[in-house]
């Protein structure tokens, strides 16, 4: 199941792109689909489609500061931004692990009151 392009999937309301060449298997499971990649099985809610090309931009420091995950880059598909998954280090949201973010408790330097 390899080929040129990206498989677009949805998980947690967000759009993700997985390099087709990294896809090893795809099957139903866990209320959605299980996508096999180098790092194991990714849990996805919906398959959106396949695109032959994406203009992939690097992940910026401002993003990783507030989203501490590895990623292959960022792109836009049909006016919707997406994260290109690094198949060796997929984000926790796709691995079915608790993300641990979004609670506003990330430590920062002191703030003015």
């Amino acid at each position: 199941m390899t080929g040129k392009g990206y498989l677009l999937v949805r998980r947690g309301g967000a759009l993700w792109g997985v390099d087709n060449a990294a896809v090893q298997s795809l099957k139903r499971g866990d209320g959605g689909f299980l996508l096999g990649v180098t790092a194991g099985e990714l849990r996805i809610d919906k398959i959106v489609g396949v695109v032959t090309e994406l203009a992939v931009r690097p992940v910026t420091a401002a993003l990783t500061r507030f989203w501490p995950e590895a990623a292959g880059g960022l792109a836009v598909y049909a006016a919707e931004p997406l994260v290109v998954v690094d198949p060796r280090r997929p984000p926790r949201a796709l691995r079915g692990l608790q993300s641990g973010g979004g609670d506003g408790k990330r430590r920062r330097r002191s703030r003015t009151a």
Binding site: A14, A62, W67, V76, E80, P81, A93, S99, D103, R108
Partner: protein, 153 residues
């Protein structure tokens, strides 16, 4: 709302001093963003949440065909929530040091006005993103250093 305050160049546009700042409402705080860092002010862009992000990151948006991280300005400055904004905005701005700047979006409750904020009037602050506070008219504003946003850890 300020309409498309284009300032793509890092140098202040003609007629604007280095002390020119865009004042924006963020929760109960008024924040001053250096105008040289502001690229555009838009009606709030649709944001797509990113699972696993901290509360300061609202998510990703699309701007000019490019993915754009959108930060919640009120959360960044620790502002108490204000009234529901009637005309929320996204401020597209440059963040990080000059030699490694990147484009970000700041979600704010409203764009207010452009004002002069002399650096000599800024006091306090955390030595990072929040440069300090300064009086502007009859209010105190939080003066922000967007160049510090990319380097702060």
């Amino acid at each position: 709302m300020l309409k498309s305050a284009e300032a793509a160049n890092p140098a202040p546009p003609t007629g604007l001093s280095a002390g020119s700042h865009l004042l924006v409402q963020a929760g109960e705080y008024v924040c001053a963003l250096p105008l040289r860092s502001v690229r555009r002010v838009l009606r709030a862009l649709p944001v797509h949440p990113l699972p696993g992000a901290t509360a300061e990151l609202k998510g990703l948006a699309e701007f000019a065909g490019e993915p754009l991280p959108i930060l919640d300005l009120a959360r960044l400055v620790g502002a108490p929530p204000g009234a529901n904004p009637t005309y929320p905005v996204t401020i597209v701005a440059w963040a990080g040091p000059q030699d490694g700047r990147e484009m970000i979006g700041l979600a704010a409750d409203a764009a207010l006005e452009v004002a002069e904020v002399p650096l000599a009037s800024v006091v306090g602050g955390d030595g990072g993103f929040i440069l300090g506070e300064a009086p502007v008219g009859n209010q105190v504003v939080r003066v922000l250093d967007l160049e510090a946003l990319g380097r702060e850890r």
